[in-house]
Symmetry: C2
Subunit: 280 residues, 2 copies
Protein backbone atom coordinates (compact mmCIF):
# COMPACT_ATOMS: atom_id res chain seq x y z
CA UNK A 1 0.00 0.00 0.00
CA UNK A 2 1.11 3.54 -0.72
CA UNK A 3 -0.09 6.01 1.91
CA UNK A 4 -0.09 9.76 1.55
CA UNK A 5 -0.15 11.65 4.85
CA UNK A 6 -1.03 15.34 4.90
CA UNK A 7 0.52 16.88 8.03
CA UNK A 8 3.67 15.26 9.40
CA UNK A 9 3.43 16.56 12.95
CA UNK A 10 2.62 14.78 16.21
CA UNK A 11 -0.31 12.75 14.84
CA UNK A 12 0.58 12.34 11.16
CA UNK A 13 4.23 11.69 11.94
CA UNK A 14 3.40 9.06 14.58
CA UNK A 15 0.97 7.43 12.15
CA UNK A 16 3.70 7.33 9.48
CA UNK A 17 6.02 5.56 11.92
CA UNK A 18 3.25 3.12 12.87
CA UNK A 19 2.40 2.28 9.24
CA UNK A 20 6.06 1.62 8.54
CA UNK A 21 6.80 -0.35 11.74
CA UNK A 22 3.80 -2.62 11.19
CA UNK A 23 4.62 -3.07 7.50
CA UNK A 24 1.23 -1.62 6.57
CA UNK A 25 2.65 0.70 3.91
CA UNK A 26 5.46 0.16 1.44
CA UNK A 27 5.78 3.83 0.66
CA UNK A 28 4.77 6.95 2.52
CA UNK A 29 4.25 10.22 0.70
CA UNK A 30 4.23 13.29 2.91
CA UNK A 31 2.45 16.59 2.37
CA UNK A 32 3.88 19.61 4.17
CA UNK A 33 3.56 23.24 3.16
CA UNK A 34 6.47 24.51 5.22
CA UNK A 35 9.85 23.59 3.64
CA UNK A 36 11.53 23.56 7.09
CA UNK A 37 9.00 21.14 8.55
CA UNK A 38 9.11 18.98 5.40
CA UNK A 39 12.88 18.78 5.65
CA UNK A 40 12.73 17.88 9.34
CA UNK A 41 10.13 15.19 8.65
CA UNK A 42 12.30 13.69 5.90
CA UNK A 43 15.35 13.75 8.17
CA UNK A 44 13.34 11.89 10.84
CA UNK A 45 12.26 9.27 8.30
CA UNK A 46 8.55 10.14 8.51
CA UNK A 47 8.07 10.09 4.73
CA UNK A 48 9.84 8.70 1.68
CA UNK A 49 8.98 11.69 -0.47
CA UNK A 50 7.34 15.06 -0.09
CA UNK A 51 4.58 15.64 -2.64
CA UNK A 52 1.99 18.30 -3.45
CA UNK A 53 -1.40 17.41 -1.97
CA UNK A 54 -3.42 17.42 -5.22
CA UNK A 55 -0.75 15.65 -7.23
CA UNK A 56 0.05 13.01 -4.65
CA UNK A 57 -3.52 11.75 -4.41
CA UNK A 58 -3.32 9.89 -7.74
CA UNK A 59 -0.41 7.80 -6.42
CA UNK A 60 -1.90 6.90 -3.03
CA UNK A 61 -4.04 3.93 -2.02
CA UNK A 62 -4.78 5.68 1.26
CA UNK A 63 -4.95 9.45 1.83
CA UNK A 64 -4.61 10.42 5.48
CA UNK A 65 -5.55 13.90 6.73
CA UNK A 66 -3.66 14.85 9.88
CA UNK A 67 -3.60 18.63 9.67
CA UNK A 68 -5.27 21.12 12.09
CA UNK A 69 -9.01 20.46 12.27
CA UNK A 70 -10.05 23.71 10.59
CA UNK A 71 -8.31 22.61 7.38
CA UNK A 72 -9.62 19.03 7.24
CA UNK A 73 -13.15 19.45 5.76
CA UNK A 74 -11.94 21.24 2.62
CA UNK A 75 -9.03 18.87 2.18
CA UNK A 76 -11.40 15.90 2.54
CA UNK A 77 -13.60 17.28 -0.23
CA UNK A 78 -10.60 17.97 -2.47
CA UNK A 79 -9.25 14.46 -1.88
CA UNK A 80 -12.65 12.88 -2.61
CA UNK A 81 -12.95 14.99 -5.79
CA UNK A 82 -9.85 13.25 -7.08
CA UNK A 83 -10.29 9.77 -5.58
CA UNK A 84 -11.20 6.66 -7.53
CA UNK A 85 -13.29 3.74 -6.30
CA UNK A 86 -10.15 1.97 -5.17
CA UNK A 87 -8.77 4.71 -3.00
CA UNK A 88 -9.63 5.50 0.61
CA UNK A 89 -9.52 8.93 2.30
CA UNK A 90 -9.42 9.04 6.10
CA UNK A 91 -8.85 11.79 8.67
CA UNK A 92 -7.42 11.67 12.19
CA UNK A 93 -8.93 14.88 13.57
CA UNK A 94 -10.41 15.62 17.01
CA UNK A 95 -13.64 17.11 15.64
CA UNK A 96 -16.11 15.22 13.51
CA UNK A 97 -19.43 17.11 13.31
CA UNK A 98 -18.58 19.74 10.71
CA UNK A 99 -16.36 17.37 8.73
CA UNK A 100 -19.00 14.64 8.44
CA UNK A 101 -21.59 17.20 7.42
CA UNK A 102 -19.35 18.72 4.75
CA UNK A 103 -18.65 15.37 3.06
CA UNK A 104 -22.13 13.90 3.63
CA UNK A 105 -23.54 14.58 0.15
CA UNK A 106 -20.30 14.14 -1.77
CA UNK A 107 -20.73 11.81 -4.77
CA UNK A 108 -17.81 9.72 -3.45
CA UNK A 109 -18.75 9.87 0.27
CA UNK A 110 -18.29 6.10 0.43
CA UNK A 111 -14.53 6.42 -0.01
CA UNK A 112 -14.22 8.51 3.16
CA UNK A 113 -13.72 7.13 6.69
CA UNK A 114 -13.74 9.48 9.72
CA UNK A 115 -11.30 8.24 12.38
CA UNK A 116 -10.02 9.64 15.66
CA UNK A 117 -7.39 7.67 17.56
CA UNK A 118 -7.56 8.94 21.17
CA UNK A 119 -3.89 9.69 21.60
CA UNK A 120 -1.78 12.81 21.78
CA UNK A 121 0.86 14.61 23.77
CA UNK A 122 1.48 18.27 24.54
CA UNK A 123 4.21 18.41 21.90
CA UNK A 124 3.87 19.21 18.22
CA UNK A 125 5.77 19.07 14.94
CA UNK A 126 7.69 16.20 13.32
CA UNK A 127 10.01 15.66 16.28
CA UNK A 128 6.97 15.05 18.52
CA UNK A 129 6.19 11.91 16.47
CA UNK A 130 6.55 8.72 18.56
CA UNK A 131 6.93 5.06 17.79
CA UNK A 132 4.11 2.87 19.16
CA UNK A 133 2.01 5.99 19.76
CA UNK A 134 -1.49 4.63 19.25
CA UNK A 135 -1.07 1.16 20.70
CA UNK A 136 -3.81 0.30 23.19
CA UNK A 137 -5.69 3.58 22.64
CA UNK A 138 -9.32 3.60 21.61
CA UNK A 139 -10.00 4.79 18.07
CA UNK A 140 -13.40 6.24 17.26
CA UNK A 141 -14.86 5.72 13.80
CA UNK A 142 -17.83 7.94 12.88
CA UNK A 143 -20.66 7.43 10.42
CA UNK A 144 -19.18 4.18 9.11
CA UNK A 145 -22.57 3.27 7.63
CA UNK A 146 -21.95 6.01 5.06
CA UNK A 147 -18.57 4.62 4.07
CA UNK A 148 -18.06 1.76 1.59
CA UNK A 149 -17.52 -1.60 3.29
CA UNK A 150 -14.05 -2.07 1.78
CA UNK A 151 -12.97 1.41 2.91
CA UNK A 152 -14.11 0.74 6.49
CA UNK A 153 -12.45 -2.67 6.39
CA UNK A 154 -9.10 -1.15 5.39
CA UNK A 155 -9.20 1.44 8.16
CA UNK A 156 -10.34 -1.16 10.72
CA UNK A 157 -7.51 -3.46 9.68
CA UNK A 158 -4.97 -0.68 10.15
CA UNK A 159 -6.17 0.25 13.65
CA UNK A 160 -6.53 -3.39 14.72
CA UNK A 161 -2.95 -3.97 13.60
CA UNK A 162 -1.98 -0.96 15.74
CA UNK A 163 -3.83 -2.63 18.66
CA UNK A 164 -6.42 0.13 18.95
CA UNK A 165 -9.82 -0.99 20.28
CA UNK A 166 -12.48 0.40 17.93
CA UNK A 167 -15.55 2.37 19.07
CA UNK A 168 -18.32 3.46 16.69
CA UNK A 169 -20.23 6.71 17.26
CA UNK A 170 -22.11 9.33 15.37
CA UNK A 171 -20.19 12.60 14.91
CA UNK A 172 -22.29 14.58 17.41
CA UNK A 173 -21.77 11.99 20.13
CA UNK A 174 -18.03 11.95 19.39
CA UNK A 175 -17.70 15.72 19.66
CA UNK A 176 -19.63 15.83 22.93
CA UNK A 177 -17.52 13.11 24.49
CA UNK A 178 -14.28 14.61 23.19
CA UNK A 179 -15.22 17.94 24.81
CA UNK A 180 -15.49 16.19 28.18
CA UNK A 181 -12.49 13.90 28.11
CA UNK A 182 -10.03 15.92 26.08
CA UNK A 183 -10.89 19.50 25.16
CA UNK A 184 -11.83 20.70 28.66
CA UNK A 185 -8.56 19.33 30.10
CA UNK A 186 -6.71 21.60 27.71
CA UNK A 187 -8.77 24.67 28.60
CA UNK A 188 -8.19 24.15 32.34
CA UNK A 189 -4.47 23.56 31.85
CA UNK A 190 -4.08 26.73 29.79
CA UNK A 191 -6.07 28.72 32.35
CA UNK A 192 -4.07 27.28 35.24
CA UNK A 193 -0.78 28.13 33.57
CA UNK A 194 -2.01 31.69 32.99
CA UNK A 195 -3.14 31.95 36.62
CA UNK A 196 0.28 31.02 37.91
CA UNK A 197 2.19 33.06 35.33
CA UNK A 198 0.08 36.09 36.28
CA UNK A 199 1.13 35.71 39.90
CA UNK A 200 4.74 35.09 39.02
CA UNK A 201 5.05 38.70 37.92
CA UNK A 202 4.81 39.70 41.58
CA UNK A 203 6.34 36.65 43.20
CA UNK A 204 9.43 35.72 41.31
CA UNK A 205 10.34 32.45 43.01
CA UNK A 206 6.95 30.80 42.83
CA UNK A 207 8.20 28.08 40.53
CA UNK A 208 11.04 26.92 42.70
CA UNK A 209 8.46 24.74 44.39
CA UNK A 210 6.61 23.39 41.37
CA UNK A 211 6.29 19.67 42.08
CA UNK A 212 4.77 16.64 40.41
CA UNK A 213 1.12 17.50 41.03
CA UNK A 214 1.45 20.91 39.43
CA UNK A 215 3.36 19.51 36.52
CA UNK A 216 0.75 16.92 35.60
CA UNK A 217 -2.15 19.37 35.88
CA UNK A 218 -0.45 22.02 33.80
CA UNK A 219 1.36 19.79 31.31
CA UNK A 220 -1.21 20.30 28.53
CA UNK A 221 -0.61 24.06 28.68
CA UNK A 222 2.46 23.40 26.58
CA UNK A 223 0.18 22.37 23.67
CA UNK A 224 0.28 24.28 20.39
CA UNK A 225 -2.24 27.07 19.74
CA UNK A 226 -2.26 26.08 16.04
CA UNK A 227 -3.79 22.74 17.01
CA UNK A 228 -6.06 23.81 19.84
CA UNK A 229 -7.64 27.08 18.77
CA UNK A 230 -9.37 25.37 15.80
CA UNK A 231 -10.45 22.44 17.99
CA UNK A 232 -12.04 24.66 20.64
CA UNK A 233 -13.75 26.88 18.09
CA UNK A 234 -15.02 23.98 15.94
CA UNK A 235 -16.42 22.27 19.03
CA UNK A 236 -17.62 25.57 20.46
CA UNK A 237 -21.02 24.66 21.90
CA UNK A 238 -19.90 21.46 23.58
CA UNK A 239 -16.80 23.14 24.97
CA UNK A 240 -18.83 26.08 26.30
CA UNK A 241 -21.23 23.65 27.95
CA UNK A 242 -18.51 21.74 29.75
CA UNK A 243 -16.72 24.95 30.66
CA UNK A 244 -19.87 26.39 32.22
CA UNK A 245 -20.30 23.25 34.33
CA UNK A 246 -16.61 23.25 35.29
CA UNK A 247 -16.68 26.90 36.41
CA UNK A 248 -19.85 26.09 38.34
CA UNK A 249 -18.10 23.23 40.15
CA UNK A 250 -15.13 25.48 40.97
CA UNK A 251 -17.50 28.12 42.36
CA UNK A 252 -19.21 25.52 44.56
CA UNK A 253 -15.82 24.47 45.95
CA UNK A 254 -14.84 28.11 46.44
CA UNK A 255 -17.99 28.79 48.46
CA UNK A 256 -17.40 25.71 50.62
CA UNK A 257 -13.84 26.86 51.35
CA UNK A 258 -15.11 30.37 52.16
CA UNK A 259 -17.62 28.93 54.65
CA UNK A 260 -15.15 26.40 56.15
CA UNK A 261 -17.57 23.70 55.06
CA UNK A 262 -15.34 20.69 55.79
CA UNK A 263 -18.25 18.30 55.50
CA UNK A 264 -19.30 19.59 52.09
CA UNK A 265 -15.72 19.53 50.79
CA UNK A 266 -15.20 15.99 52.09
CA UNK A 267 -18.36 14.81 50.39
CA UNK A 268 -17.37 16.53 47.11
CA UNK A 269 -13.84 15.10 47.15
CA UNK A 270 -15.09 11.61 47.89
CA UNK A 271 -17.49 11.92 45.01
CA UNK A 272 -14.61 13.09 42.81
CA UNK A 273 -12.53 10.09 43.98
CA UNK A 274 -14.86 7.80 42.03
CA UNK A 275 -13.08 9.04 38.90
CA UNK A 276 -10.60 6.36 39.95
CA UNK A 277 -12.74 3.59 38.56
CA UNK A 278 -12.29 4.90 35.03
CA UNK A 279 -8.59 5.70 35.22
CA UNK A 280 -6.14 2.89 35.28
CA UNK B 1 19.45 7.68 65.59
CA UNK B 2 16.01 6.60 66.71
CA UNK B 3 13.23 8.31 64.75
CA UNK B 4 9.59 8.36 65.75
CA UNK B 5 7.20 9.06 62.87
CA UNK B 6 3.60 10.07 63.61
CA UNK B 7 1.50 9.13 60.60
CA UNK B 8 2.69 6.19 58.47
CA UNK B 9 0.82 7.07 55.28
CA UNK B 10 2.10 8.37 51.93
CA UNK B 11 4.50 10.95 53.39
CA UNK B 12 5.44 9.44 56.76
CA UNK B 13 5.74 5.95 55.30
CA UNK B 14 7.93 7.14 52.42
CA UNK B 15 10.08 9.07 54.90
CA UNK B 16 10.46 5.91 57.03
CA UNK B 17 11.68 3.99 53.96
CA UNK B 18 14.08 6.81 53.09
CA UNK B 19 15.56 6.99 56.62
CA UNK B 20 16.10 3.26 56.56
CA UNK B 21 17.47 2.98 53.03
CA UNK B 22 19.96 5.79 53.64
CA UNK B 23 20.95 4.36 57.03
CA UNK B 24 19.89 7.57 58.73
CA UNK B 25 17.96 5.79 61.49
CA UNK B 26 18.73 2.58 63.33
CA UNK B 27 15.23 2.25 64.68
CA UNK B 28 11.91 3.67 63.55
CA UNK B 29 9.01 3.98 65.96
CA UNK B 30 5.63 4.46 64.35
CA UNK B 31 2.58 6.24 65.72
CA UNK B 32 -0.77 5.25 64.25
CA UNK B 33 -4.15 5.51 65.93
CA UNK B 34 -5.94 3.04 63.65
CA UNK B 35 -4.98 -0.58 64.48
CA UNK B 36 -5.61 -1.66 60.86
CA UNK B 37 -3.31 0.99 59.44
CA UNK B 38 -0.69 0.29 62.11
CA UNK B 39 -0.74 -3.40 61.23
CA UNK B 40 -0.46 -2.65 57.52
CA UNK B 41 2.48 -0.29 58.14
CA UNK B 42 4.27 -2.95 60.19
CA UNK B 43 3.66 -5.55 57.52
CA UNK B 44 5.16 -3.18 54.94
CA UNK B 45 8.21 -2.63 57.13
CA UNK B 46 7.55 1.08 57.67
CA UNK B 47 8.27 0.90 61.42
CA UNK B 48 10.02 -1.43 63.86
CA UNK B 49 7.47 -0.84 66.60
CA UNK B 50 4.18 0.96 67.06
CA UNK B 51 4.19 3.28 70.09
CA UNK B 52 1.87 5.77 71.74
CA UNK B 53 2.71 9.34 70.70
CA UNK B 54 3.35 10.77 74.17
CA UNK B 55 5.29 7.74 75.41
CA UNK B 56 7.41 7.28 72.32
CA UNK B 57 8.81 10.80 72.43
CA UNK B 58 11.18 9.98 75.32
CA UNK B 59 12.85 7.27 73.21
CA UNK B 60 13.27 9.27 70.02
CA UNK B 61 16.15 11.46 68.86
CA UNK B 62 13.94 12.81 66.08
CA UNK B 63 10.15 13.20 66.21
CA UNK B 64 8.58 13.51 62.76
CA UNK B 65 5.00 14.78 62.31
CA UNK B 66 3.44 13.47 59.10
CA UNK B 67 -0.27 13.52 59.95
CA UNK B 68 -3.00 15.66 58.30
CA UNK B 69 -2.15 19.36 58.63
CA UNK B 70 -5.01 20.18 60.98
CA UNK B 71 -3.50 17.89 63.64
CA UNK B 72 0.12 19.03 63.35
CA UNK B 73 0.17 22.28 65.42
CA UNK B 74 -1.17 20.61 68.62
CA UNK B 75 1.07 17.59 68.17
CA UNK B 76 4.07 19.87 67.68
CA UNK B 77 3.30 21.63 70.98
CA UNK B 78 2.81 18.31 72.78
CA UNK B 79 6.07 16.97 71.39
CA UNK B 80 7.97 20.14 72.36
CA UNK B 81 6.43 19.97 75.87
CA UNK B 82 8.18 16.63 76.32
CA UNK B 83 11.37 17.20 74.33
CA UNK B 84 14.81 17.69 75.84
CA UNK B 85 17.62 19.84 74.48
CA UNK B 86 19.00 16.89 72.59
CA UNK B 87 15.84 15.98 70.70
CA UNK B 88 14.52 17.47 67.49
CA UNK B 89 10.88 17.77 66.41
CA UNK B 90 10.13 18.32 62.72
CA UNK B 91 6.99 18.28 60.60
CA UNK B 92 6.43 17.48 56.93
CA UNK B 93 3.13 19.31 56.39
CA UNK B 94 1.93 21.36 53.41
CA UNK B 95 0.88 24.36 55.54
CA UNK B 96 3.28 26.38 57.66
CA UNK B 97 1.63 29.67 58.72
CA UNK B 98 -0.59 28.47 61.56
CA UNK B 99 1.93 25.87 62.72
CA UNK B 100 4.82 28.33 62.97
CA UNK B 101 2.63 30.81 64.80
CA UNK B 102 1.42 28.19 67.30
CA UNK B 103 4.95 27.09 68.24
CA UNK B 104 6.51 30.57 68.01
CA UNK B 105 6.49 31.40 71.72
CA UNK B 106 7.06 27.87 73.01
CA UNK B 107 9.88 27.69 75.58
CA UNK B 108 11.53 24.97 73.47
CA UNK B 109 10.84 26.53 70.05
CA UNK B 110 14.51 26.00 69.19
CA UNK B 111 14.04 22.23 69.04
CA UNK B 112 11.45 22.53 66.24
CA UNK B 113 12.19 22.59 62.52
CA UNK B 114 9.38 23.20 59.99
CA UNK B 115 10.01 21.20 56.80
CA UNK B 116 8.02 20.55 53.64
CA UNK B 117 9.49 18.23 51.02
CA UNK B 118 7.65 19.05 47.76
CA UNK B 119 6.64 15.53 46.87
CA UNK B 120 3.41 13.58 46.91
CA UNK B 121 1.13 11.39 44.84
CA UNK B 122 -2.62 11.04 44.63
CA UNK B 123 -2.52 7.89 46.77
CA UNK B 124 -2.69 7.63 50.54
CA UNK B 125 -2.13 5.20 53.40
CA UNK B 126 0.87 2.94 54.16
CA UNK B 127 0.77 1.13 50.83
CA UNK B 128 1.18 4.47 49.05
CA UNK B 129 4.66 4.79 50.61
CA UNK B 130 7.44 4.70 47.99
CA UNK B 131 11.16 4.10 48.05
CA UNK B 132 13.24 7.04 46.82
CA UNK B 133 10.21 9.29 47.08
CA UNK B 134 11.84 12.62 47.92
CA UNK B 135 15.00 12.32 45.86
CA UNK B 136 15.59 15.41 43.74
CA UNK B 137 12.59 17.29 45.13
CA UNK B 138 12.96 20.68 46.73
CA UNK B 139 12.41 20.79 50.49
CA UNK B 140 11.31 24.04 52.06
CA UNK B 141 12.48 24.89 55.57
CA UNK B 142 10.63 27.71 57.31
CA UNK B 143 11.70 30.09 60.08
CA UNK B 144 15.01 28.27 60.55
CA UNK B 145 16.38 31.34 62.39
CA UNK B 146 14.07 30.39 65.26
CA UNK B 147 15.39 26.82 65.42
CA UNK B 148 18.58 25.82 67.27
CA UNK B 149 21.58 25.46 64.97
CA UNK B 150 22.06 21.76 65.78
CA UNK B 151 18.39 21.00 65.11
CA UNK B 152 18.52 22.71 61.69
CA UNK B 153 21.81 20.96 60.95
CA UNK B 154 20.26 17.54 61.63
CA UNK B 155 17.26 18.19 59.39
CA UNK B 156 19.47 19.67 56.66
CA UNK B 157 21.75 16.64 56.82
CA UNK B 158 18.76 14.31 56.41
CA UNK B 159 17.36 16.12 53.36
CA UNK B 160 20.79 16.55 51.78
CA UNK B 161 21.32 12.80 52.17
CA UNK B 162 17.95 12.30 50.45
CA UNK B 163 19.23 14.57 47.65
CA UNK B 164 16.63 17.26 48.25
CA UNK B 165 17.73 20.80 47.31
CA UNK B 166 16.89 23.08 50.26
CA UNK B 167 14.96 26.34 49.99
CA UNK B 168 14.45 28.72 52.93
CA UNK B 169 11.27 30.79 53.25
CA UNK B 170 9.12 32.41 55.84
CA UNK B 171 5.86 30.53 56.52
CA UNK B 172 3.62 33.09 54.79
CA UNK B 173 5.70 32.96 51.63
CA UNK B 174 5.64 29.16 51.72
CA UNK B 175 1.85 28.99 52.05
CA UNK B 176 1.32 31.47 49.23
CA UNK B 177 3.62 29.56 46.88
CA UNK B 178 2.15 26.19 47.89
CA UNK B 179 -1.34 27.51 47.03
CA UNK B 180 -0.14 28.30 43.50
CA UNK B 181 1.95 25.26 42.69
CA UNK B 182 0.13 22.54 44.61
CA UNK B 183 -3.18 23.36 46.25
CA UNK B 184 -4.88 24.91 43.21
CA UNK B 185 -3.97 21.90 41.06
CA UNK B 186 -5.93 19.74 43.45
CA UNK B 187 -8.96 22.02 43.45
CA UNK B 188 -9.09 22.08 39.64
CA UNK B 189 -8.67 18.30 39.41
CA UNK B 190 -11.47 17.66 41.89
CA UNK B 191 -13.72 20.13 40.08
CA UNK B 192 -12.90 18.62 36.68
CA UNK B 193 -13.68 15.11 37.92
CA UNK B 194 -17.02 16.34 39.29
CA UNK B 195 -17.79 18.10 36.00
CA UNK B 196 -17.29 14.92 34.03
CA UNK B 197 -19.00 12.65 36.57
CA UNK B 198 -22.00 14.98 36.53
CA UNK B 199 -22.28 14.56 32.75
CA UNK B 200 -21.73 10.82 32.93
CA UNK B 201 -25.12 10.45 34.58
CA UNK B 202 -26.70 11.35 31.23
CA UNK B 203 -24.05 10.00 28.89
CA UNK B 204 -22.99 6.59 30.04
CA UNK B 205 -20.13 5.91 27.69
CA UNK B 206 -18.28 9.16 28.12
CA UNK B 207 -15.29 7.47 29.68
CA UNK B 208 -14.67 5.00 26.91
CA UNK B 209 -12.66 7.75 25.32
CA UNK B 210 -10.72 9.02 28.32
CA UNK B 211 -7.16 9.33 27.06
CA UNK B 212 -3.81 10.46 28.36
CA UNK B 213 -4.54 14.19 28.55
CA UNK B 214 -7.63 13.69 30.64
CA UNK B 215 -5.89 11.25 32.91
CA UNK B 216 -3.05 13.58 33.79
CA UNK B 217 -5.31 16.57 34.40
CA UNK B 218 -7.70 14.64 36.60
CA UNK B 219 -5.20 12.36 38.36
CA UNK B 220 -5.10 14.44 41.54
CA UNK B 221 -8.86 13.99 41.96
CA UNK B 222 -8.06 10.57 43.39
CA UNK B 223 -6.43 12.30 46.40
CA UNK B 224 -7.78 11.70 49.91
CA UNK B 225 -10.26 14.16 51.42
CA UNK B 226 -8.68 13.53 54.85
CA UNK B 227 -5.47 15.08 53.58
CA UNK B 228 -6.84 17.84 51.36
CA UNK B 229 -9.80 19.32 53.21
CA UNK B 230 -7.54 20.46 56.09
CA UNK B 231 -4.93 21.80 53.66
CA UNK B 232 -7.45 23.89 51.71
CA UNK B 233 -9.12 25.22 54.87
CA UNK B 234 -5.85 26.02 56.66
CA UNK B 235 -4.57 27.86 53.59
CA UNK B 236 -7.98 29.37 52.96
CA UNK B 237 -7.10 32.95 51.97
CA UNK B 238 -4.30 32.02 49.61
CA UNK B 239 -6.38 29.25 48.03
CA UNK B 240 -9.37 31.58 47.59
CA UNK B 241 -7.09 34.15 45.97
CA UNK B 242 -5.68 31.70 43.44
CA UNK B 243 -9.09 30.21 42.82
CA UNK B 244 -10.57 33.63 42.05
CA UNK B 245 -7.79 34.30 39.55
CA UNK B 246 -8.17 30.83 38.01
CA UNK B 247 -11.94 31.22 37.55
CA UNK B 248 -11.27 34.65 36.04
CA UNK B 249 -8.85 33.14 33.52
CA UNK B 250 -11.40 30.43 32.63
CA UNK B 251 -14.07 33.08 32.11
CA UNK B 252 -11.77 35.05 29.81
CA UNK B 253 -11.18 31.92 27.72
CA UNK B 254 -14.90 31.18 27.73
CA UNK B 255 -15.69 34.64 26.39
CA UNK B 256 -13.04 34.31 23.68
CA UNK B 257 -14.51 30.98 22.57
CA UNK B 258 -18.02 32.48 22.58
CA UNK B 259 -16.84 35.32 20.34
CA UNK B 260 -14.77 33.07 18.04
CA UNK B 261 -11.79 35.18 19.01
CA UNK B 262 -9.09 33.02 17.43
CA UNK B 263 -6.51 35.76 17.78
CA UNK B 264 -7.15 36.24 21.50
CA UNK B 265 -7.09 32.49 22.14
CA UNK B 266 -3.87 32.10 20.19
CA UNK B 267 -2.24 34.88 22.17
CA UNK B 268 -3.45 33.40 25.50
CA UNK B 269 -2.25 29.88 24.62
CA UNK B 270 1.13 31.15 23.48
CA UNK B 271 1.45 33.01 26.76
CA UNK B 272 0.47 29.83 28.63
CA UNK B 273 3.11 27.90 26.63
CA UNK B 274 5.82 29.77 28.52
CA UNK B 275 5.00 27.53 31.50
CA UNK B 276 7.33 25.19 29.60
CA UNK B 277 10.42 26.96 30.84
CA UNK B 278 9.68 25.96 34.43
CA UNK B 279 8.62 22.38 33.80
CA UNK B 280 11.29 19.89 32.97
Amino acid sequence: MIAMIAGLGLIGGSFALALRDRALAEEILGVEKSPEIAEEAMRLGLADRIVEFEEGIAEADLVVLATPVDTIPIMAVKALNRATDRQVVMDMGSIKGELCEVVSMHARRGRFVAAHPMWGTEYSGPKAAQRGAFSGRITVLCDTERSDADAVALVERIFRTLECPLVYMDPEEHDLHAAYVSHISHVTSFALALTVLEKEREERHIFDLAGGGFESTVRLAKSAAGTWVPILLRNKYNVLDVLREHIHQLQIMRRMIERDDAEGLTEAMQRANSIQRILR
